[in-house]
């Protein structure tokens, strides 16, 4: 074996140490010599590689190309950057980039391969990204002056321009004109300073329609770090924008509707205690809207009056713990310090069986609630009030009622000395005095009723006729003033269990209504009948009016309904009458088949009549 010269030894070291794979291959398809890098890269022993045709190691798809390149090389062509894939011992493939030159005479190919697997993979990813972008988005390259240099099919399709029409043009070609100059100035400022800009741009198609694109524009740098051009990637969001506009419209209708109904919505995130309120909720509770900070639960609970705080706290707590929904009418104390009645509802929302949030509504019911409370209060006061009204009515005529009999007594007494000898005339005067004093005592007895306070629900047996007579007496002045005759027809003692004062009140109310209703009619009479019907005692009051229109009779017993002028009636009389009668198990109705206005009250007949 000849000793290697120093130069040869150096070349051998270079051959052995090289990271690149060096080889000599024969046209028979076998490697003649390989350096150790082959073994290191592929994982086979050197002998294994040399023992098989190298095509055995090449990816089946690359064999044909490799054979072609080999052929070229044998014919004397220099092969450069030819790539194929080799199978490693572990089954994976590696990409090799070859340069080769053949010794045509000796039929040997001298070749160098570099493992470019990683580069190849990186390039693949890049290509895939590019492909994906090209197929899914609108891509355009622009030079530094803003002229379009390259566009993909999507750009042509969405804009309606052909590639030829676009290239060389400024982007202004597709500008909608709906963006300010500042908008584009800012964009150029961003990208020309080397940063990426993104935003929504409204563009115009060749047809004139507008379309919306979410755009990302990024500068592309050359190897010297200078901007060489710009890449714009855009996505068509026209549908989305349209939907958003629709959604905005829907939301604004919803907002308006809830403003009219004074209904707000709210949601409580259980984990954080964070509250989400709709505009109307902010408005009802008079809380200023803050964009930077949501209200939290304690703040929400604080917007109730002290007395109602425990109620809402408990309701919210039970809703969170046990999933109990609630629906409460409470007094809110607004951020501005106003107190108003609200109706608030809440219900739990579950996620995987766990309560994650509560949501509900809040409605301003102040006006309704106040009307209700006013009604209850009026109802409470009504008996006292209408007694006072009757007293006022009585007071107007009371002087007359007492002074007339008093004048008779007075006159009789002054005449009596003349008749000391005439017993017949004397007795007549004594009778006059007697009758007059009875009249006065009757008036005073009627007044006694007003000194009694209605202590509520004392029910006892009463003769309905007596109550009616009292009511007729008490309304006598009014009926006389309006020249209205009142007749009472009752042929038996009708006993009912009732609160005498309340029932008298109801009857006074009906008589007063009747007088008011007919006072402008030429014919004025009121007729009251009391009779038995089956198990009922019926009180029937008819006046000379011509009945009540059906559409009015439906509302007749509603609180605050009145046909009288403002100030003349509270609209409470009949509703209170109905309330009182309900408590007596009695019914009140308008007789629709009567030619005259007619109300009937049916009382249950008392069983233990003595």
């Amino acid at each position: 074996m000849p000793t290697l010269s120093q130069e040869d030894a150096n070349l051998k070291i270079l051959f052995d140490m090289s990271v690149d794979m060096l080889c000599i291959a024969g046209i028979d398809g076998y490697f003649k010599k390989i350096n150790p890098s082959f073994s290191r890269t592929l994982g086979y022993a050197e002998e294994e590689i040399l023992s098989k045709p190298f095509y055995d190691f090449i990816h089946i798809d690359d064999i044909e190309a490799t054979q072609l390149e080999m052929g070229k090389s044998i014919n004397g062509e220099v092969i450069n950057q030819f790539e194929n894939r080799y199978r490693c011992k572990n089954g994976q493939y590696k990409s090799f980039s070859w340069s080769a030159q053949a010794d045509v005479d000796r039929k040997l190919v001298y070749a160098i391969a570099r493992d470019v697997t990683e580069e190849r993979e990186a390039k693949n990813v890049l290509i895939q990204i590019q492909n994906a972008l090209n197929s899914e988005s609108i891509v355009a390259y622009t030079d530094r002056a803003g002229r379009i240099t390259e566009v993909n099919d999507n750009f042509c399709q969405i804009s309606g321009y052909s590639r030829e029409e676009l290239i060389g043009q400024n982007h202004r070609l597709v500008s909608s004109g709906n963006h300010s100059e500042d908008f584009f100035r800012d964009m150029w400022k961003t990208i020309s300073s080397g940063k990426t800009w993104s935003g929504m741009i409204e563009n115009r198609r060749k047809s004139g329609d507008h379309y919306f694109v979410q755009s990302i524009i990024t500068p592309i740098f050359d190897i010297q770090g200078k901007i060489q051009n710009y890449l714009a990637v855009r996505f068509d969001t026209t549908e989305h924008v349209k939907n958003e506009v629709e959604l905005d419209k829907t939301l604004s209708i919803l907002r308006e509707t809830s403003a009219i109904a004074k209904v707000g919505g709210w949601e409580l995130e259980v984990a954080t205690g964070e509250l989400t309120w709709t505009n109307e909720t902010f408005k009802i509770l008079e809380v200023k809207q803050r964009h930077y900070q949501s209200p939290i639960l304690p703040e929400g609970l604080d917007l109730f009056v002290e007395a109602h705080k425990p109620i809402i706290e408990k309701a919210v707590q039970r809703a969170i713990e046990f999933g109990e929904p609630y629906n409460l009418e409470l007094k809110a104390l607004t951020a501005e310090g106003n107190i108003l009645w609200i109706n608030t509802t809440g219900k739990p929302n579950y996620e995987n069986g766990k309560i994650v949030s509560l949501s509900g509504t809040i409605q301003d019911i102040d006006a309704r609630k106040k009307a209700e409370l006013k009604y209850a209060l009026e109802r409470q006061k009504s008996i006292q009030n209408s007694k006072l009204a009757a007293l006022g009515e009585l007071a107007a005529g009371i002087a007359h009622e007492i002074n007339n009999p008093l004048a008779i007594i007075h006159g009789s007494v002054q005449l009596m000395p003349r008749y000391l000898e005439d017993s017949e005339k004397l007795i007549k005067k004594i009778d006059d005095i007697n009758n007059s004093s009875k009249r006065i005592s009757h008036i005073v007895k009627s007044l006694q009723k007003f000194s009694r306070t209605s202590d509520g629900k004392q029910f006892s047996l009463h003769c309905l006729k007596d109550i009616v007579d009292e009511a007729v007496t008490l309304t006598g002045n009014k009926s006389k003033r309006h020249s209205t005759s009142i007749s009472v027809d009752c042929n038996a003692e009708m006993i009912i269990i009732c609160n005498e004062i309340e029932i008298e009140q109801v009857i006074i109310n009906l008589i007063n209504n009747a007088i008011d209703a007919i006072k402008h009619l030429p014919e004025r009479w009121i007729s009251i009948d009391i009779f038995e019907k089956n198990t009922c005692v019926v009180f029937k009051i008819t006046d000379s009016g011509s009945g009540i229109p059906e559409e009015v009779s439906d509302k007749l017993f509603d609180p605050f309904f009145t046909t009288k002028n403002v100030g003349d009636g509270t609209g409470l009389g009949l509703s209170i009458a109905k309330g009182i009668l309900d408590e007596h198990n009695a019914t009140i109705a308008v007789e629709q088949n009567s030619p005259h206005t007619c109300f009937t009250i049916e009382f249950q007949k008392s069983e233990n009549v003595n």
Partner: protein, 110 residues
């Protein structure tokens, strides 16, 4: 020469007392329970003095007085405290009245 006095009141007992007390040969008293009849009588034979009650069925003394000739002296007799008048009365006397007071008036108009 006798004096004619009319009295209108729906209170029959008062009418009787009035006629009994003031009626004489010289003072001719006629009482009326009904306003229309009184008005009719005034038209036919105007009295020297007319006493009228205020509160009457279907009407008031005031309305009756308006229907009368203005030359008839009219006195309102009433038990009411407050009332609105359209007619000008020569005097208003409240019930219960003193006979002396009435007598003075009758004498004055005789």
């Amino acid at each position: 020469m006798s004096t004619t006095v009319y009295y209108l009141d729906d209170e029959a007992a008062l009418c009787d007392i009035f006629a009994e007390f003031f009626g004489s040969d010289l003072i001719h008293v006629t009482t009326f329970l009904d306003a229309d009849k009184a008005i009719e009588a005034c038209r036919l034979t105007p009295p020297d003095l007319f006493f009228i009650d205020f509160r009457l069925p279907n009407t008031t003394g005031d309305q009756v007085a308006l229907a009368l000739d203005r030359s008839i002296p009219k006195i309102l007799l009433t038990g009411d405290f407050s009332f609105k008048l359209e007619c000008k009365f020569d005097q208003i006397i409240s019930k219960p009245f003193q006979f002396d007071e009435i007598q003075d008036l009758i004498n004055r108009y005789s």
